[in-house]
């Protein structure tokens, strides 16, 4: 069961080939047996899983099941779960049990899906390697000496190692797409505002977006159907009705114009990775798509722009972690200042502190105009690049990352090298556009991702392009050899 797609599991439950309890037990057993290798989960509550699965089975038996009823899904530990610890990968929230569900979790619960567990992540979603977690690094199932990518590294590794059929993640600068690419799975970051942010611990409010991570575009579509939609309690959530993302799957790519930004194929891109991407593009061309060279002239500004805006927003989003109301609190504070400084000193890790400092600096009087304000102006230029591009093409394609997964520890002491990992993914967040990564080959046994960026609210088209690609290729069906049952 563990090697099946969500679509197959949905059919299996419907046809009573197995029950949700059986299915959930299967994944619980794998997690218990195998996750010590990957460290992809922070919390798994077996009792709650089996209770939810039992309830799902009743609902299936009663004949009022929804699509995902009974499907176990792993959630990044950034989504608040009522009564279950939500740590955000931080010591700061190690003891935090929310009394509410994130809107996204509530959607899955309403659908009858089973919360399989909470996955590991870079602390407060800050990182590209999942090495910044209070709960320890996550290993890449394709080679456990490699990073799985981040910040949704736990979700990506869990799906890749078949410890969960699908997972949720969040993407502020590439945190769904980059780990999806590194772990050989499919992940989509929807348009900003497509999925509610309520109950998702904030990193950078204007960039954060939740999305599904699974083995295929089709599975992502199934999950996104449950996640997308307007939330009146998130003012930045779009009022545009969500589509049925499964409905358009299988549509022809004849006449599809795919833009290839020349800036995404230049220096810095690993040659072998570039070859995989070119091969993938040829496949899309073979299906009737036209490849068009385009330009995103402000691409070279995405990293500096992102690394001002994201830390600036983060520096104030994280002010609420002050030891006063919940979360970590230092022992025996002597006064208010001591409470604040020691609580935050102890509760936050190095990368989080680094970004709080950078962000605080960027917003300070005297620097605001030169940094934050300028970055916002550049952000508009970056967005305009895409708007111009989408007047010529339907989809933009390129590599998700400059190369395949790197070794654990290789870049953990070099933040700038780490930040460069997100060079192709950041722009979609700055522009608010949907972006997807689909498995596009292996380089030395390490997966490579093809990134597809769509126009605003064009998730259905992106998913269809991914789906059509996966109809013709089998990269998404490869499984890592380290995971029992895996076949490479």
């Amino acid at each position: 069961m563990y090697d099946k797609s969500v679509a197959q599991l949905v059919a299996g439950l419907r046809d009573k080939q197995f029950s949700s309890v059986e299915l959930s037990r299967c994944f619980l057993e794998r997690i218990a047996r195998l996750d010590s290798t990957y460290n992809s989960f922070i919390s798994v509550d077996e009792t709650a899983v089996l209770a939810a699965a039992g309830a799902a089975d009743k609902r299936i038996a009663a004949g009022n099941a929804a699509t995902l009823t009974g499907i176990p899904i792993a959630h990044k530990d950034i989504f608040c779960t009522d009564g279950m610890r939500t740590s955000c990968g931080s010591r700061m929230l190690d003891n935090f049990v929310p009394p509410y569900d994130a809107t996204l979790i509530a959607h899955f619960n309403r659908e009858g899906a089973v919360v399989l567990g909470k996955t590991n992540m870079d602390e407060f979603a800050m990182g590209s390697s999942n090495e910044n977690s209070f709960y320890g690094a996550v290993s890449n199932p394709w080679d456990t000496s490699l990073v799985p990518g981040g910040s949704s590294g736990g979700s990506a590794a869990a799906v890749a190692a078949m410890l969960a059929p699908a997972a949720t993640g969040t993407d502020t600068g590439g945190s769904i797409r980059q780990p999806a690419a590194f772990c050989g799975i499919t992940g989509i970051k929807p348009t900003y505002g497509r999925v509610s942010r309520l109950g998702m611990v904030a990193f950078a409010s204007s960039l954060d977006q939740a999305g599904p991570m699974a083995h295929s575009a089709e599975d992502c579509a199934l999950l996104l159907n449950c996640m997308a939609g307007h939330d009146p309690l998130d003012s930045t959530s779009s009022e545009l009705p969500a589509e049925d993302y499964c409905a358009g799957l299988g549509g022809s790519l004849q006449g599809l114009r795919i833009g290839l930004p020349r800036e995404y194929f230049g220096d810095g891109l690993d040659t072998a990775t570039a070859r995989c991407i070119q091969d993938s593009l040829k496949e899309l061309e073979a299906q009737g798509a036209t490849l068009v060279e385009v330009s995103l002239p402000h691409s070279h500004l995405t990293i500096p722009t992102y690394y001002i805006i994201a830390p600036a927003e983060a520096s104030t989003n994280l002010s609420r972690f002050d030891g006063v109301r919940y979360g970590h609190r230092c022992a025996n504070p002597v006064d208010l200042h001591d409470l604040y400084t020691r609580t935050r000193e102890e509760g936050f890790g190095a990368e989080v502190k680094r970004r709080i400092l950078v962000g605080t600096y960027a917003l300070s009087a005297g620097y605001y105009d030169a940094y934050y304000k300028k970055a916002q102006q550049v952000r508009r230029l970056i967005k305009q690049d895409f708007v111009d591009c989408f007047s010529q093409v339907d989809v933009i394609a390129g590599p998700t990352t400059p190369g395949p997964a790197f070794a654990l520890g290789a870049k953990s002491d070099d933040p700038l090298a780490m930040y460069l990992e997100d060079i192709y993914t950041l722009a979609a967040n700055l522009a608010g556009l949907p972006g997807m990564s689909v498995p596009a080959g292996l380089v030395g046994g390490r997966p490579v991702g093809l990134q597809l960026i769509g126009n605003y609210f064009d998730e259905a088209r992106l998913l269809n392009v991914g789906h059509r690609f996966q109809q013709a290729t089998d990269w998404h069906q490869r499984r890592p050899a380290t995971a029992p049952g895996g076949t490479q």
């Binding site: 904030a202 409010s205 003012s235 009087a365």
Partner: protein
Amino acid sequence: MQWETVIGLEVHLQLATCSKIFSGSATTFGAEPNTQASAVDLAMPGMLPVLNAKAVRYAVMFGLGIGAEIGRRSVFDRKNYFYPDLPKGYQISQFEAPIVGRGTFEIQLEDGSTRSIGITRAHLEEDAGKSLHEDFHGQTGIDLNRAGTPLLEIVSEPDLRNAAEAVAYLKALHSLVTYLEISDGNMAEGSMRCDINISLRPKGSDALGTRAEIKNVNSFRFVEKAIRHEIERQADILEDGGRVVQETRLYDADLDETRPMRSKEVANDYRYFPEPDLLPVVIDDEYIEAIAAGLPELPAQKRHRFVEQYGLGNYDANVLADSRALANYFETVVTRCGDAKIAANWVQVELLGQLNRSETGIEDCPVSAVALGGLIQRILDNSISGKIAKQVFEAMWQGEGSADQVIEARGLKQVSDSGALEAMVDQVIAGSASQVEQYLAADEERRKKLVGFFVGQVMKLSRGQANPQMVNELLAKKLV
């Protein structure tokens, strides 16, 4: 040296919405600590603000009330600082693009003259919670009921020149916002709090002196005292050749002094930036027109109308137009009795006097406007004298019924029967031989004064019920 005082006020007005500005929690005053604080107010992880539409509406009403430009695209910003009663570590406020822009505001001074005061801007923001330092044995309790209460911060130009003007400005503001019903204006409960920016400069100078800011003054009386005190303090410093330090001070009502806040209480870099969790508030003509069409007559308009329509003086018009309830009361009295001047007099002197003495609000007044109008009618149709009317009013206040019922029950109807009056006049003349002699010896001018004695005696004899006009006529006839 002669000093001129320059004052600008920042008023924090609590808007009378049922729920908070960014959450659904109630805003009722005086609830048990932390019973009106939701996950949003507590800044739990992942919680997001949703703007209260009514708060926006109220802010626009205020803007229209002072003829201000309405910000067509106003933006919320985060004002960052750490404090235990500020759960998010930032206050959501408006910095660069406020919802209400420049406007002006007419205030009425004690002498009846008016002045126009500039309003720089007014913006929406959320209130913080409350730190409770008592009852926690050296620790601090936090009550977040108030956190997220909608405030409109109204910033004036430095157009005010003394304490009296500042108080007049606040009273006019209070009158406006209660007219608009956008705030209950309850200062004791903190619905209207005031920061005072104050500086001195040599008379005739255009430059502004260094200012001090006095925080959180919450009554008209304290504003007046704090300003008087601060003027004196700054003048002393300047007279001695010293320099005023720009700082934030607190007014201590118990000691009647201002003193500097501890430097820790004054944050310096708030790192304002646009709040990414909220969209800009975009306001179109249609929205503004709909609100404008529904605005009530405002205090200044009403004041001017009272002067024109009823021939009242500026001062009287100002008093009567102070609150919507009082103005409505007055106009009902006028409608009933038909004489605006007497009505104005009665409402201001007798009615307001009684209300003040008994600390009753106009809303709870035991004598209805219709009833008071009925009483005044009885004066106008000579059923009773003005003096008797005061007795009748007392009785009405005590709940003895309408004017007619009281007059009937107490037998206070004016004596206009010429036979009875003539008998009384004769009796007085007969018993006042020396006064009659004096009167007859006096010239025309003096007689006018002396006749008062006879009138008084007749009124005494009639227990005040004699028709004074008829008594005068009879006396004129008989004293020859």
